[in-house]
Amino acid sequence: MTRRPYVRPLHPHWWLRDRRQFLYIVREGTSVFVGLYSAILMDGLIRLAQGREAWETYLAALSSPLGVTVQVICLAFAAFHAVTWFGVTPKAMPPLLVKGEPIPARTIIRGHFILWAVLSLAVLLVLGG
């Protein structure tokens, strides 16, 4: 018959046409930098195993202009990752009930931010010796 459904193909730049979708791809994109930083850490472990001298070169590389630039970019994306990750935590866990009432999403998100601050402080203290 005359029925002829038209399928509009997904726009090749669908994620650039919509703020929400763009932020999604940026959120996912953060993983490139998270991954990159894991590689940097892996490198550090290799150097550590190779001995004091190798470790010193590693630290120097971290502090080089290139090293700093790369890491600052990584930091920005990692922070964006953290914020977006905490933002969805209430959806990603079963509702927690306190006296029969579910804990509000805002409280759960706030709890994660507090944990973030505490752990970050702990990391810095441990590394600082």
């Binding site: 791809i25 993983s31 998270v34 991954g35 550090g44 550590l48 195993a49 905490f86 994660h112 752990l119």
Partner: protein, 112 residues
């Protein structure tokens, strides 16, 4: 319909996302900002000492390997989203790299 084995990759992905969110920013802050500024001293002895015990090794491995896995999972998924291949090949490359990062880190830690 057969059930998917996705939990095998998804659970470490989720854990990695949590680690990357809670701890990674502080680590980058330390190595990428405070260290170059001279506000933090990551001396060889101190760091070695941190990695000396079993618990230390385990924690460090977690901090390196899980975010790597998290990244691998997201990268292959996003590539699929953007229509860049995203087939089995890419999956192998991504998860393979993450496994490699984990394995090398483990060997390095064991050598300490």
């Amino acid at each position: 319909m057969t059930k998917s084995n996705e939990p095998f990759v998804w659970m470490p992905f989720g854990a990695g996302g949590m680690v990357a969110a809670l701890v990674t920013p502080a680590l980058i802050l330390a190595t990428g900002v405070l260290l170059p500024l001279g506000l933090l001293d990551l001396s060889y002895d101190h760091i070695r000492a941190l990695a000396a015990g079993w618990i230390g090794k385990l924690i460090i491995l977690t901090l390196v390997a899980l975010p790597a896995w998290h990244a691998a999972h997201r990268i292959q998924a996003t590539a699929h989203d953007l229509g860049w291949g995203g087939g089995l090949g890419l999956k192998r490359v991504c998860y393979g790299t993450a496994t490699f990062v984990a394995a090398v880190s483990l060997i390095a830690l064991l050598k300490l």
